[in-house]
């Protein structure tokens, strides 16, 4: 009996999550990085809470961006190295569906985990409570968008020996709008202003990358597999 696309996506998603939890060190690395970078700023600059509050959006977003970059390279690399990527590509499932499953799984173990941890960091940077919902929403949209950008970049660079550097060079410029609007949404929320405009923009970017990401990333992978 043939396997439908939905079941195919579910299988790959569970496979990725299982693999993720068998390697907790790889899971924790970006999160610990996020924590450390955000604690370094108050130490280096000034622990005054007014100062912390002013720089919190920038620090949070830059740290989140760099932490996400850390885990991006492994998205397809591990499977390409042990030959399982070829098996997935020949599994009679559309390559796009496999990319969707892998990227969502990647976001769940990296981006979503980072979002879940961000209130802790925000409190340490004395971000007021009323700004937390906006910060969480902007980070959730931003990290998901980043995962899609990362999937495209990782698809393009998976065949290279030192693809990590090139991946950063591809993804970081594309992530600039995220950084600008994400930090601005958080900043406005901290100042008690309405962050809706910036959040809408982040939402639009997220929808855009979610709809085109699978196509672009699977096309990139197909080229690399040759």
């Amino acid at each position: 009996m043939n396997v439908g696309v939905a079941r195919g996506i579910w299988l790959v998603l569970t496979r990725e999550l299982r693999l993720g939890f068998r390697r907790p060190d790889q899971l924790l690395q970006p999160l610990v990085f996020f924590l450390i970078v955000t604690t370094l700023f108050p130490l280096a600059l000034s622990p005054l809470s007014s100062m912390l509050r002013a720089m919190a959006p920038g620090v949070l977003w830059v740290a989140a961006l760099l932490a996400s970059l850390l885990s991006m390279e492994t998205l397809f690399k591990a499977d390409a190295d042990d030959g399982t990527l070829e098996q997935l590509a020949l599994s009679a499932q559309p390559l796009g569906a496999i990319v969707v499953a892998k990227t969502i799984a990647h976001w769940l173990v990296s981006g979503a985990a980072l979002v879940a941890m961000s209130p802790l960091v925000a409190t340490a940077l004395s971000v007021p409570e009323r700004a937390l919902p906006t910060m969480l929403a902007s980070l959730a949209l931003g990290t998901l968008t980043l995962s899609w950008l990362g999937a495209i970049g990782a698809g393009l660079t998976v065949g290279l020996r030192r693809g990590g550097v090139l991946l950063s060079l591809i993804v970081l410029p594309l992530a600039m709008p995220l950084l600008i609007f994400g930090a601005s949404a958080t900043d406005r929320a901290i100042g008690g202003e309405d962050p809706a405009g910036a959040l809408y923009f982040l939402g639009a970017l997220c929808v855009f990358t979610t709809s085109l990401g699978p196509l672009a990333a699977s096309a990139a992978l197909r080229i690399t597999l040759e």
């Binding site: 496979r15 042990d82 020949l90 599994s91 559309p94």
Partner: protein, 209 residues
């Protein structure tokens, strides 16, 4: 057990790798029940040929047909009818042998764990079913890969050096499985450096330097 098999034909396959003309007009036809032994010195494009046949690599010119259709036009049907085993075992080290099979085979057809366990038993790695693949020896990994090929129940097998790392018993088992596959109307292309001790008829395809 198998889907009704079609034949596999390749017509004048040419592949360049940079400046190197790796495959120079390779043509063959394999009808159901046929085993094809692909051999030739190192670097003559045996693996490249298999990658073309499974659709991972697009040849510069020439066409591969499954039945009467070119394989690019029936990609998912063709992939369902075909199993490719590369020269590496292609297992996730952090997953158990059974989980590896569950995810690989499960994407092609619905399959129960009991059946996968039975298949692992058949290729002699039943006791390793719940061990992570990274602790298995190279030969055991090869046997797990063999179980994966079996469990796919495809009409067409494309096997890249499947005898590597297998002990004498393992080699005999693989030979028996290939004979059985051909007897049931399947097709197999096998890259190997030694003569295949098969009972049935084997066609030979030599790739020259």
């Amino acid at each position: 057990m198998h889907e009704p098999a079609a034949g596999l034909t390749a017509e004048k396959i040419h592949v360049w790798r940079g400046d190197r003309h790796v495959l120079r007009g390779v043509s063959f036809a394999a009808e159901p029940g046929r085993l094809l032994h692909v051999y030739g010195p190192n670097g003559t494009g045996k693996t490249t040929l298999l990658r073309v046949l499974c659709g991972l690599l697009r040849p510069e010119s020439g066409v591969v047909r499954w039945g009467t259709e070119a394989i690019e036009t029936i990609r998912s049907d063709y992939q369902r009818a075909m199993t490719y085993a590369s020269h590496e075992a292609a297992l996730k080290g952090d997953l158990t042998a059974l989980e590896n099979l569950r995810y690989a085979v499960g994407l092609k057809r619905r399959v129960a764990d009991e059946e996968l366990r039975a298949t692992l038993e058949r290729t002699g790695v039943g006791p390793c079913a719940d061990l992570p693949a990274r602790v298995l020896s190279a030969g055991q990994r090869r046997r797990v890969a063999m179980a994966r090929v079996l469990a796919m129940r495809s009409a067409l097998w494309l096997l890249d050096e499947p005898y590597t790392n297998l002990d004498a018993k393992g080699g005999e088992l693989l030979t028996a499985l290939l004979d059985e596959h051909a007897g049931a109307g399947g097709i197999a292309l096998v890259v190997a450096h030694h003569a295949l001790p098969l009972a049935g008829a084997v066609a030979r395809l030599e790739l020259a330097a």
